[in-house]
């Protein structure tokens, strides 16, 4: 492995450069600033889902293809609670709690039995089966029609120096960052969080100190589902996203791309990656005329591919020696 000390600075420099570009552009053009902020809001949604993916990947080396569907499912639960008369924020909190249970139970019932005797591929297939199951369940329980999800932040435009920012966008950014932050605090400072980290990096050694690794996995799925619920509820609140069973399909891809940018193992990298993707796609859609909404998904795919080919360990990752 060649040692290239100077390459450590390339990524941070590029990020700073991008940051500068965004700030200057925002100061220069109101439209640019608006699109940057709403791009960041989208990025916040992708970030929550991306961190959920990284969480599960770090613990099991499995990509949970059903993560988006589970997020949609929990969002429907939120819709249902509101439909039954609960006001928004109590429903939000209740949904988070329910999402934890859903994620926990799904791991226990659908994944653990498969993990026992199978290998990675069978678990991936099980996750795909789960994806089909959960999206089907949504259609079964609530039907396939588009539902209307009330907005958490009542429509309000903040005017700062001639630039219009929507309260919804700012709220989404705040909530997404907050949820990822709370999770980080949990992992860094609590006993259970430490045990989960230990179980993720060295399950055998963790067992020797008494950590019940399989329960840690279920916990991880529960927490991932909570993050997914945040992503889903923020997505549904966004004017361009409709609450329907396939709501998170595209967003899942953006989240994958973000997770890949973070090297699949770094939550921080995934968050930065998500924000980058959100802003980039938004700016592309606004400023490049031939980029239609349908091309955004292929664009994200291209980004993901380029990153994987050029620097598979992601923005902040270290090159991983492949186990032979």
């Amino acid at each position: 492995m060649r040692a290239r000390p100077s390459s450590r600075w390339i990524v941070p420099l590029v990020l700073v450069g991008i940051g500068l570009f965004l700030v200057i552009g925002s100061l220069d053009s109101a439209l640019f600033a608006q699109q940057t902020v709403s791009g960041l809001a989208n990025g916040g949604i992708y970030a929550s889902l991306a961190v959920a993916l990284v969480l599960i990947y770090r613990a099991t080396e499995v990509i949970n293809f059903a993560q988006g569907a589970i997020a949609t499912f929990t969002t429907y639960i939120a819709w249902q609670l509101i439909d039954w008369g609960l006001s928004y924020w109590p429903a939000f909190v209740a949904t988070l709690a329910i999402a934890f249970v859903v994620g926990f139970v799904l791991e226990l019932v659908a994944i653990r039995p498969v993990e026992r005797r199978g290998n990675q591929l069978t678990v991936v297939i099980a996750a795909i089966g789960l994806l089909i199951l959960v999206e089907g369940a949504i259609g079964w329980i609530w039907g396939n029609n588009i539902k209307f999800m009330p907005a958490p932040f009542p429509s309000h435009i903040y005017n700062v120096g001639g630039v219009a920012f929507s309260r919804q966008d700012l709220g989404t950014i705040a909530i997404s960052i907050a949820s990822v932050l709370v999770l980080w605090l949990f992992f860094q400072f609590t006993k259970v969080g430490l045990a989960m980290r230990a179980a993720a990096v060295r399950p055998d050694a963790a067992r020797l100190v008494g950590v019940r690794v399989s329960w840690m996995l279920s916990l991880g799925w529960g927490l991932a589902a909570v993050l997914g619920a945040v992503a889903g509820m923020m997505a549904a609140a966004s004017p361009s996203v409709l609450l329907q069973p396939s709501m998170m399909d595209g967003i899942l891809i953006y989240a994958f791309a973000a997770a890949v940018l973070g090297g699949l193992e770094s939550a921080a990298g995934a968050v930065v990656g998500a924000l980058l993707i959100g802003v980039t796609l938004n700016l592309l859609a606004s400023y490049v005329s031939w980029v239609t909404p349908q091309l955004l998904l292929p664009a994200a795919f291209v980004i993901m591919l380029v990153v994987l080919l050029v620097k598979p360990s992601g923005l902040f990752g270290h090159a991983r020696v492949r186990k032979v």
Partner: protein, 235 residues
């Protein structure tokens, strides 16, 4: 001094390969017992059988209670600390976090435990924020030992603590093991390639051969017997 650990007729296999055939041994409270033998004789597997890391059959009792089908998580809660081959330290976590994990199963305050560990390994205090993977081999071994001390075990299972370490470091580690045994009364089941050092530390030893106990006796007896020393212990 009662019997702490008793194995009787223990079998273990890795897939089609049978690693242990009817292993029987005992470790008394506060004793240091060595497990010797060539590579592949089944020493590591024996420790794994005790901690429940490998599936085994036969009778295993800890302080009279059968271990049943308990896995390592449950066995740890019964007071067994297993320091595996390769140390089992969490390289990605800090020294401090490694130690905290040692106290995972303990309820109540762990402040005293940190103080105790600091007595045996004073240098750990200043390195608490350092990533465990950046420690030297000897330091990682001591960290693994320190983590086991945090568990306050009744029985310490030590697998090849001297592997890859310089003689001075090895001597230090064995000194600490003896101190642990004398001060805390922790029983130790020690697996070692380095037979001479083991026999100097342990009071008794078993020699394994192809998954079964070939010889056993006190350290003096085994060290005295020329044939055993030369054929099995390599010196």
């Amino acid at each position: 001094m009662g019997v702490l650990l008793a194995l009787s007729g223990v079998d273990a296999r890795y897939g089609p390969v049978q690693a242990l055939r009817g292993v029987s041994l005992t470790v008394d409270e506060g004793e240091i017992v060595a497990l010797l033998g060539a590579n592949g004789a089944g020493k590591t597997t024996t420790l794994r059988a005790v901690s429940g890391t490998v599936r085994r059959s036969g009778t295993l009792e800890l302080a009279g209670r059968p271990l049943g089908r308990r896995g390592p998580e449950a066995t740890a809660r019964l007071g067994v600390a297993h320091v595996p081959e390769g140390r089992g330290t969490f390289s990605e976590l800090t020294v401090w976090e490694n130690l905290r994990l040692g106290a995972y199963i303990r309820r109540g305050s762990t402040k005293d435990d940190f103080a105790r560990v600091a007595r045996y390994f004073p240098w750990l205090e200043e390195r608490r924020a350092q990533q465990a993977g950046t420690l030297s081999g000897g330091e990682q071994q001591m960290l693994a030992l320190a983590r086991a001390v945090m568990q306050r075990p009744r029985l310490l299972l030590l697998d090849e603590p001297s592997l890859g370490l310089a003689p001075l470091v090895v001597a230090e580690i064995f000194r600490i093991v003896r101190e642990l045994n004398e001060r805390e009364g922790t029983a130790v089941l020690l697996v070692e390639q380095n037979a001479r050092t083991s026999l100097e530390t342990a009071s008794r030893a078993y020699v394994l051969e192809v998954g079964a106990v070939a010889f056993s006796g006190t350290s003096e007896e085994l060290a005295r017997e020329d044939t055993i020393r030369r054929s099995y212990l390599g010196y």
